[in-house]
């Protein structure tokens, strides 16, 4: 128990409540989409499977396939190449040169070749700037839609990142003040009263979930606001203050690769030799390979490996043009440093991807608890102030968004699969379906007299949408469960099953009324009677 004078406690309580409510609805959206984003790789594999799943996107000889792809690309784009895994295990190699847009902003322009890791054949080809190429990426479009919503609420940069950064700060403030104002912190970890007043039970459930979740909420808020602010504000500001506005120079100092300038033509870099060596050293699969100065004597290959089993950090190896090992370097800088060490922890702590599906499942569950805490917190707050019209309207929006957002996310998938099958603008379709779901839910919550009815209808629609989605996925991708069994498509089975179970759980929840809503006037007998 933390003892504070009454005045300070009152002030912190006010800060805790207002920071949570003012930004609570947006924060809820960021948390819910963050929960889904934990499984972004699996969602991508599920939404765009190849006929069969390779054991790895980096099989022996994939480097030769990338070299072969390079021959089909205009040499002007052979400046740099970055290759990484995409949906369904596809290998994407982006050959590009560095350029600037009309506004002077640095961009990358080039050609993406997508390679099937099993057949080693090029199965897709896209040309344009890095942004245009990202927009043309149909296989990963659904996963990107969810991640973009989480990272920047689909607002243009840097405003979206700044907003989510501020939301992260608000969440951190709520976590810190929550820790201080819970006077009986340890007692509240285990207190769930079976009370006749179900509001008290809901309040207890909110406090238990929130209290257990405090350290995790703090970590997520801290790392999340770091990621939002670092690229949108931190690095540009550093560049302005310490490097005369030269953003590339900051990146160069942070990356810390050895300087080289020998434009003598040379054979393409020996990717396979570098990848084989990196696999042996790290005992894991590559995350990505960056090949700078392709076809020059000073070519430099950076291979970043995924964390090996039981470890938290990626490992980074440098190779020369012939694929000879040069050095292991930290993720940042050329030699180990405390800055690189702390930076390398931020990713695993935020994404929960350090121990495969197990850690992802833990992050998913903890994130879900965070969403529950936010939602019940908003419900409790607005319910207590139900006699004030402004709070009553906010209460309706809380119900509409709380139950409508998961439905809207599922609706985005309903916009995606028809495009996969029939063609069309996937981004327009997904956004239209998403907004239709969200605005429909908000409208419903504001039109229906009883909020309990809104909840029941929205949960029922969510259940139907969840149960129907595996069938739509089947029609859209053409991959049946028999095909999935033959092709070893585990993500297809797992997510189809997960969606069906979630749908059944929603149906079950429809039959159990929300305790918090029992207290709302709109949930009681009609005022007209």
């Amino acid at each position: 128990m933390i003892r504070l004078p009454q005045r300070e406690t009152r002030t912190l309580l006010a800060v805790h409540g207002w920071s949570a409510v003012l930004l609570g609805l947006l924060l809820y959206a960021v948390i819910v989409t963050g929960v889904a984003s934990v499984f972004t790789d699996e969602i991508a594999d599920w939404s765009s499977p190849l006929p069969s799943q390779a054991d790895t996107a980096w099989p022996q000889g994939i480097g030769s396939a990338i070299q072969h792809a390079a021959q089909t690309v205009d040499p002007q784009f052979h400046e740099d190449m970055i290759a990484f895994r995409q949906a369904g295990g596809r290998m994407q190699a982006f050959f590009h040169k560095h350029d600037t847009d009309p506004a002077g902003k640095p961009i990358e322009r080039g050609v993406v070749t997508v390679i099937d890791p099993q057949s080693r054949q090029i199965i897709e080809r896209r040309e344009g700037t890095d942004e245009e190429i990202g927009e043309m990426n149909l296989p990963n479009a659904l996963a990107h839609f969810i991640v973009d919503l989480h990272v920047r609420l689909h607002l243009p940069n840097p405003w979206g990142l700044l907003l989510t950064g501020i939301l992260g700060l608000a969440m951190m403030l709520a976590a810190v003040t929550g820790f201080v104002i819970h006077r009986h912190l340890f007692k509240e970890l285990f207190t769930l009263r079976r009370h006749k007043d179900r509001m008290l039970s809901t309040r207890d459930a909110h406090v238990i979930a929130g209290t257990w979740n405090l350290p995790f909420a703090f970590i997520l808020a801290f790392t999340g606001s770091f990621f939002s602010f670092a690229s949108s504000f931190g690095i540009p500001a550093m560049a302005m203050a310490a490097f005369g506005g030269d953003r590339d120079k900051v990146i160069e100092v942070l990356i810390g690769n050895p300087a080289a300038n020998d434009p003598t033509p040379a054979p393409p870099p020996a990717l396979d030799r570098a990848l084989d060596d990196a696999r042996q050293r790290a005992g894991s699969d590559p995350w990505y390979i960056l090949s700078e100065h392709w076809g020059r004597a000073d070519a430099l290959q950076t291979v970043v490996m995924l964390p090996a089993s039981g470890t938290l950090r990626n490992r980074t190896f440098l190779y020369d043009a012939a694929g000879r090992f040069m050095q292991e370097k930290p993720l940042l800088g050329s030699v180990p440093s405390s800055g690189a060490a702390v930076y390398s922890l931020m990713g695993p702590l935020h994404f929960g991807n350090f121990a495969g599906v197990l850690s992802k499942a833990a992050w998913f569950a903890l994130g879900f608890a965070g969403a529950y805490v936010t939602f019940t917190g908003l419900l409790l707050w607005t319910t207590r102030r139900e006699d004030q019209p402004a709070w009553r309207y906010l209460g309706r929006s809380v119900t509409g968004l709380g139950y409508g957002l998961p439905l809207a996310l599922i609706m985005a998938a309903y916009g995606y699969f028809p495009v996969v099958r029939l063609g069309g603008d996937v981004h327009v379709m997904m956004m239209t379906a998403f907004l239709a779901g969200l605005l429909g839910a908000l409208l419903l919550a504001n039109l229906l007299r009883q909020l309990a009815d809104s909840r029941r209808i929205l949960l029922s629609l969510t259940a139907l949408a969840l149960i129907g989605l595996p069938w739509l996925r089947w029609i859209g991708t053409g991959v049946s469960w028999i095909d999935a069994a033959h092709g070893g498509l585990n993500a297809v089975f797992a997510i189809d099953l997960g969606l069906s179970i979630a749908g059944l759980l929603c149906l079950r929840a429809v039959r159990r009324p929300s305790p918090a809503m029992k207290r709302l006037p709109s949930a009681q007998a009609s005022p007209a009677t």
Partner: protein, 102 residues
């Protein structure tokens, strides 16, 4: 019948002053400290510690400044601390920008 002393009437100007200090001033001060500290923190063996640590710690820095601004009973002192940090680091940044060729 005992009479309890009525609480002093809330001072609106003071409440506004604290609100401004907690919100925009704390944020700007924390941002200036983040950027400015890159100019005096040790660079470390890789030459990056002065860049990475302030960016990583920015959320914590802001939280600390916000809570301090909110809790310090002496509002004038809270303003003094926030402005002192902001101005000293702002001066460092200005000096660096003027001495670095664009």
């Amino acid at each position: 019948m005992t009479q309890t002393a009525a609480p002093p009437p809330p001072n609106r100007a003071r409440a506004w002053s604290r609100g401004v200090l907690m919100g925009p001033v704390s944020f700007i001060a924390a941002a200036l400290v983040m950027v400015g500290s890159a100019l005096w923190l040790p660079k470390g063996p890789a030459g990056i510690d002065n860049l990475v640590w302030p960016i990583v710690l920015f959320p914590l820095l802001w939280t600390a400044m916000f809570l301090y601004s909110c809790l310090d009973v002496r509002l004038g002192r809270a303003w003094l601390v926030a402005l002192g940090l902001a101005l000293s680091h702002g001066a460092l940044i200005a000096n660096s920008m003027m001495s670095t060729p664009a």
